[in-house]
């Protein structure tokens, strides 16, 4: 069960800020970020990938679960 970070409903660029902080401190190499819009999905994915993480997007209703592994 990976760590979950809820970024739903947050304005740009808060999902990216939270994700970067989470990725910097995550020791387990597994984290899931939840966002609620396509812009956050794209921006957070890009941010994680730029930090060397792999991102898998899962649609969950109207939200997006971004499963990240390093």
């Amino acid at each position: 069960m990976s760590e979950l970070v809820d970024c739903r409903g947050l304005s740009c660029p808060e999902p990216v800020l939270l994700t970067r902080e989470a990725l910097q401190h995550e020791a387990s190499g597994k984290i899931t970020v939840i966002v609620s819009n396509a812009v956050a999905r794209d921006n957070v994915s890009r941010a994680a990938e730029s930090m060397g993480w792999q991102v898998r997007v899962e649609e969950d209703g109207e939200d997006f679960k971004l499963h990240m592994t390093k």
């Binding site: 304005s11 660029p13 808060e14 989470a22 794209d42 921006n43 109207e62």
Partner: protein, 360 residues
Amino acid sequence: MRDRLFIIIAGAVTGLLAVILVMQGNPANMGFCIACFIRDIAGGLGLHRADVVQYLRPEIMGLVIGAFATAMWVKEFKATGGSSPVLRFILGMLMMAGALIFLGCPLRMVLRLAGGDWNALIALPGYVFGVWLGTLFLRRGYTLGRSQDQSTVNGYTGPFIAVILLILLLTTPAFIFFSEAGPGSMQAPLVLTLGAGLVVGILAQRTRLCTMGAIRDLILFKDYQLFLGFAAITVVAFFGNVVTGQFLPGFAEQPVAHIDTLWNFSGMTVVGIAAVLAGGCPMRQLILTGEGQGDALMTVLGMGAGAAFMHNFGMAGSPAGVSPAGQWIVIISLVLLFIIGAGNIKMRSLSQAKTKAKAS
């Protein structure tokens, strides 16, 4: 790589259309100005009575409708809202106040630069400074809170308002004001102004173009994607102006501009801070409105109200400079922005976001 190319194209098209719009009748160096145009719409509706700036600018309606149609098409439309609506309204007012002091939103700022208006060279560092100040709040956990899903009616409201404004423009009822002189009387033909708005609305929705994000992301993340779009607008508009003879360099007697260094700088500082705290530059707010974000619509409504206040109380800048009342507004705006920023720091934290995830 493909995203970067796309946003460069989006910026290039925006810059090109801006040059064409001016050639075909828009005020000089004002192919697009989100602040001026919302102010003109406020005037058209009689919310202020500055009779040289009253016109229902179709570029604004086009941006919203173009973004709306695109969002619907790619299934990114989502009716949301409820994130500190009052503060967003105020931020919109403050964003407009700063822009009307400088006489341009950030988009017009780069278009003025591309036209040789060197006063924009003073404003640009002011804007960057403001964005930087805004990031200080972001880094300390500033947030206006989470938005929630809203009913579809909420999401359609912004696009609906845009359509109504378009109908009012086309039917010219007696209660709508149309400037007979000054910038409000200068416009390119409707097919161009509306068409350009629609095209940029589509491109800006797809590429997330944002003049504030362009600076902010460089500062926060060293991410230059949005900046590419921002630069493309400027570079293409510059070349377009040179080729069409619209590049007229200088400080003095620039069109719809003044040479007040301190207030050009600080007016755009206000815009920079407000845009960061509101999550988007003026144009981005219009695009987000088209995507169904009630929070962005609140900001846009605030911009309209701010424009009305600024002109009713003689605070807006003019080619003659900035009145004492306008100078006070800049200072008051900075104080209010500080209060809004500081009052909402530490509202966001990673631990809170993790706890919330576990709870849901």
